[in-house]
């Protein structure tokens, strides 16, 4: 993995996922390890994402490295009309690793081909956000003690949600059974179901949220956004059907955990937060350890 860019979740093999998770565990036990003493990491955020940027910067600082960069394109030369090509060629001279978020899809892949400095994709439009997927994997592993043979409920916007697509790709290597819970307008795209069929994995599609919920090991919630609906009336009809309430967790397994990539709006009722099965805030903390693991591994320090 040394010097290998991480652009798409499919860039890593199953063994590499497991290696990152093992390293993350090590960083969770000892978060402050000065491995990046003379290293500079550039965080280039062409569109703002405070949560992701702070998580990356925290990971670098805990490793003793230094951070340069910008937090949105208004404070960079992009506003002067500089191409991504030029920005990357220049910034590559100043750092050992580039972390970038960009509104256009494929931007991180393009950047990774312009320089020998490794690139970590922190989100390219609706396409990929692989460090989110790895932290989801880590959260699943930590709460279930394993990744194999689990049942995952994916709930909400399964059509446009990039996190559920990447998580599906990654978990498909661990004999997962999937339940896709969504309104008709936001169903899991055919290509992903075709992919699971090819692997012989089981999946079930349903509109009702509560059905079979007692079989779940993980409930992965996503936001249902109004602008995704072609028919506003359909949105009004369905918006409350995919809200998780504490009462719904009564019959679920003791070990079941609720995950959400955050930010949430109203799809998880606040009455769930106090339930020990609510895991989404810890999930965000796991992000720092996982990003430490990814950075250390790419820079060949672990």
């Amino acid at each position: 993995m040394k010097n290998k860019s991480l652009v798409s979740i499919t860039d890593y093999s199953k063994e590499e996922y497991l290696r990152i998770l093992a390293l993350a565990q090590e960083f969770e036990l000892r978060p402050n390890q000065i491995l990046l003493k003379d290293k500079v990491v550039a965080t280039l955020f062409f569109e703002p994402s405070t949560r992701t940027r702070l998580s990356f910067e925290s990971a670098v600082l805990k490793l003793g490295g230094r951070v340069i960069g910008f937090s949105d394109s208004n404070s960079s030369s992009v506003t002067k009309g500089e191409t991504l090509y030029d920005t990357i060629r220049i910034v590559a001279n100043y750092c050992d690793l580039i972390v970038m978020r960009h509104p256009l899809e494929g931007a991180a892949r393009f950047a990774s081909e312009l320089t020998t400095v490794p690139v970590v994709n922190a989100g390219d439009g609706a396409n990929q956000h692989p460090t989110q997927t790895l932290l989801d994997l880590y959260s699943i592993y930590k709460t279930q003690g394993k990744l194999d043979d689990l049942t995952i409920f994916m709930v909400g916007d399964l059509k446009y949600g990039r996190t559920v697509h990447s998580l599906l790709m990654a978990m498909s290597q661990f004999r997962t059974t999937f339940y896709f819970v969504s309104p008709d307008e936001l169903k899991m795209p055919e290509e992903y179901k075709y992919f699971l069929n090819c692997l012989g994995l089981k999946y079930y599609e349903q509109k009702e949220f509560g059905r079979n919920i007692e079989t779940a090991d993980i409930i992965y919630m996503t936001r249902v956004q109004k602008e995704r609906f072609s028919d506003p009336i359909e949105y009004e009809r369905t918006k409350n059907a995919y809200v998780l309430k504490n009462k719904m967790l009564e019959d679920t397994r003791e070990t079941m955990r609720v995950l959400h990539p955050l930010p949430r709006v109203n799809e998880i009722d606040q009455d769930v937060d106090a339930n020990p099965k609510a895991y989404y805030f810890t999930q965000a903390l796991n992000g720092v350890y996982v990003r430490q693991a990814i950075i250390a591994s790419i820079l060949g320090l672990k």
């Binding site: 191409t83 960009h102 256009l104 899809e105 494929g106 892949r109 393009f110 290509e191």
Partner: protein, 154 residues
């Protein structure tokens, strides 16, 4: 009967070169652009809207003293999957070939995703062919699919 006679006349009209037959009439100009025939200085004859049982209306291109390597000519399979090539030497057809969609398409097709980086910076597009029969191209950059219906030649 008339068009059969025409076709024969056209095919036999070159001494050495390549005849590309069974191009859908609507794809003729795309084929010209894919093979950069507009930049070729050899004698070329185009025929279009010829009657074809298979395609309805077809086009044909005759190129004197021009021969293609497979990799080059296979690019036209994207727009003319049923195209047939006749290699002519000394007025005779010495070889017939069909085209096959290649595994990878570089720099010919525009990605149909408007939010793809390739539509916003100067980048040579690149696709992996994920389905050949009903052509589906997966963009190397944005990872979205461009299907047969939406293939636009750059």
């Amino acid at each position: 009967m008339l068009h059969m006679k025409d076709k024969k006349l056209e095919v036999s009209a070159i001494e050495n070169g390549t005849v590309i037959d069974h191009i859908p009439a609507t794809a003729l100009f795309k084929v010209i652009s894919i093979l950069s025939l507009d930049k070729l200085d050899r004698q070329i004859t185009f025929g279009t809207n010829l009657i074809s049982k298979k395609l309805g209306k077809k086009a044909i291109i005759k190129l004197s003293d021009t021969f293609f390597i497979d990799k080059e000519i296979n690019k036209i399979a994207l727009v003319a999957p049923q195209a047939k090539l006749n290699i002519i030497r000394n007025y005779r057809v010495v070889e017939k070939k069909i085209v096959e969609v290649p595994e990878e398409i570089i720099g010919i097709v525009k990605c149909m995703n408007p939010k793809c980086i390739t539509n916003n910076e100067r980048i040579i597009t690149k696709f992996r062919v994920v389905s050949k029969k009903d052509v589906k191209l997966k963009c190397h950059y944005c990872e979205k699919i461009t299907d047969q219906e939406h293939i636009e030649i750059i």
